[in-house]
Point group: C2
Chain length 440, copies 2
Amino acid sequence: MYLSKLFIPLLKETPSEAKIKSHQLMLRTGMIKQSSTGIYSWLPLGFKIMKKIEKIVREEQNHIGAQELLMPTIQSANIWKESGRYDDYGEEMLRIKDRQGREMLYGPTNEELITEIFRASVKSYKSLPQLLYHIQWKFRDELRPRFGVMRCKEFFMKDAYSFDVNDVEAGKSYNKMFFAYLKTFKRLGLTAIPMRAETGPIGGDLSHEFVILAETGESKIYSDKRIFDTDISKYTGDDDSINELRKKYGEFYSVTDEKFNKEDFEKKVKKENQLVTKGIEVGHIFYFGDKYSKPLKCAVDLQDGKKVYVKMGSYGIGVSRLVAAIIEAKFINNVMKWPNSVTPYEVAIIPSLQKNDKSNYTKAEKAYNFLKKNNIDVIFDDTDEHLSAKFKKFDLIGIPYQIILGSKSTHDKFEFKEVNGKTESLTLEEIKNKLTNIKN
Amino acid sequence: MYLSKLFIPLLKETPSEAKIKSHQLMLRTGMIKQSSTGIYSWLPLGFKIMKKIEKIVREEQNHIGAQELLMPTIQSANIWKESGRYDDYGEEMLRIKDRQGREMLYGPTNEELITEIFRASVKSYKSLPQLLYHIQWKFRDELRPRFGVMRCKEFFMKDAYSFDVNDVEAGKSYNKMFFAYLKTFKRLGLTAIPMRAETGPIGGDLSHEFVILAETGESKIYSDKRIFDTDISKYTGDDDSINELRKKYGEFYSVTDEKFNKEDFEKKVKKENQLVTKGIEVGHIFYFGDKYSKPLKCAVDLQDGKKVYVKMGSYGIGVSRLVAAIIEAKFINNVMKWPNSVTPYEVAIIPSLQKNDKSNYTKAEKAYNFLKKNNIDVIFDDTDEHLSAKFKKFDLIGIPYQIILGSKSTHDKFEFKEVNGKTESLTLEEIKNKLTNIKN
């Protein structure tokens, strides 16, 4: 992509309404544009990153056998009345009347609707276990939306639901998701810590929040810092190995504000291992048994002829929120570096261009065409800005690798730089090989 | 995928509310489930097909240089008041008040919002031409939703918008989209005819509807049947060639009901070429100049310093509706055959399974594993139904190729059948090669 052609409305100044660095960066680099309070359009740069995150989330869900479907955004109020949550949910639920006066709502979550789908089609224990998920826009009418897409009204979320015949089987489904979440966040370049959490409005008795560290996080975190050394790649993902992994995490004290107990913390965590910091919730999983299946009468026949309400869990990842969360984690000292897995472009070509000397332009274009032909997704800054202005711009855009054509550039070698890393002088062939290896 | 594991709630009977064959088939094969009047959940089979259609639509948009972004579903009423359409739009617009009493709406289309995005960021003729699109859920509060996803309330649509400095340039953008649409529909296995159309609520003075033939279509069509022989593969896609193509289409009389004139038809079309039938609209493109840019004050500076309101067009493809449209075109004599480009699975393994003889199961599973390993997306009917019941089921599911393991199956050869086509006796290697060739 030629930068001059890209629809990327860069801002010179940081808008005053943006209080945290992800919101600032997203506005500065034209990733998003607010369309009304707490509601955003995703412009091409931001959209591309979000789609890459979505793809990784999807792949890890498919990997554990979860099946994708898609529930609508607008739901009937009726099933929420059946579950009893219609009145409980409060003003955050966007309530709507259609032209015929029917009570509808914009789904803030989907426990009711998925239960209704499940009860209509599954009748026997033979069809269980089952994992279903969708990735869909949801709406919460926040009173004070803030921090850009971190706490906004319309947001993009993956929510999965598990269906089992008993608690033991349900525990296995829960663990599968637990593991898939850790793998998902790892692929996104994040270290997410699972913390025992309150179940809140979803309900149930078992819940983990997945939290990444960030100074600007909303949750205060108290933990044994050794928890960050847990290496999930040692676990295979079968039932036993995930049990081991959950035990491993259980060994280290790690809680959010709401579960914090000072005495406990001092007793269980040695002084040198105590970590008190802030974090951002990027995922949340719940096990709530028959909390929804019972009022909604979602039961299956067991082998012995008895009926049982299915045991359910729900599992959420905030896909649009993750875009901001990654920025909070990776935008350091005013330099952004997107993880390779989600970067909008794999490499940026940044040439110093003179009006009277086309040689750098020609060389840059040659590099661009060569890399494109080799399936490297490259952005070429073909604007006539000064090189120093281009560097400042790319400090924000955050492409992790740069090919720089300054005055120093010799005939067949290029200055190849990893952001926050070293600079090498390489041929195009060497650059291609390096970038291809990074991708695979 | 093992059929027994797939979340596919098949119905034995055709639900009485389904009046047209696409709606019937989609319910029978568990592609969709109604969640409330005119609002559907997409279950795994239907979702997978819709995603494949979306991917083709996206690729053809990207191919002509259109850039993807994503506007939210919920919009502020304010910009609709600026354009003057808030009152015009009538009851089909789902109007919403948020918790603070602000007037919002669920976007039925996006001319206003994209104009607002554009005016905020583009100031100079240098940034034009520009093509922007998104693929997003939209809502029209139909008084009488019917025909399943063909005329429903919440629907998935690609809408693109072009921005140019003058009518001549805008004509080129229009033509690019015109060509991209023909290519898109062709890849979907459809012959779509572009017909001059009324502009309706979008406005403007140039418009084409893309219509596919189907007995159950909503629009009556009068055309010169030679129009169907137009071969778009002979046109390269540059400005001149598309002009030629548009002229070519212009040679043949082809209109919908609203533009029909009997005398004209009789005069221009020889008796033997007259085709009077029904069709389904799958795409619609509009050129409306400054109809929105003017009231919304979206102008750019020209080279000579003057300002001009940008000239815009909009271009829609109904992605969810296309799922039903393809069924209307390809479900013939009670047998469905999905086009290879969008089929949910590339091949189905359909074995006759006996309780006391595992040999067919073993053989089928071997074929399944072999094909999976070779990146063929295969569905294996591992249920214990009778072979004739399985055939009936797959007549509806519509996978275009079948590997049948009946009683006849010899040791290393398999019965390989193309739906509505011939049956061959092939080795697994031969089947793999055939399916791989079809894909590429």
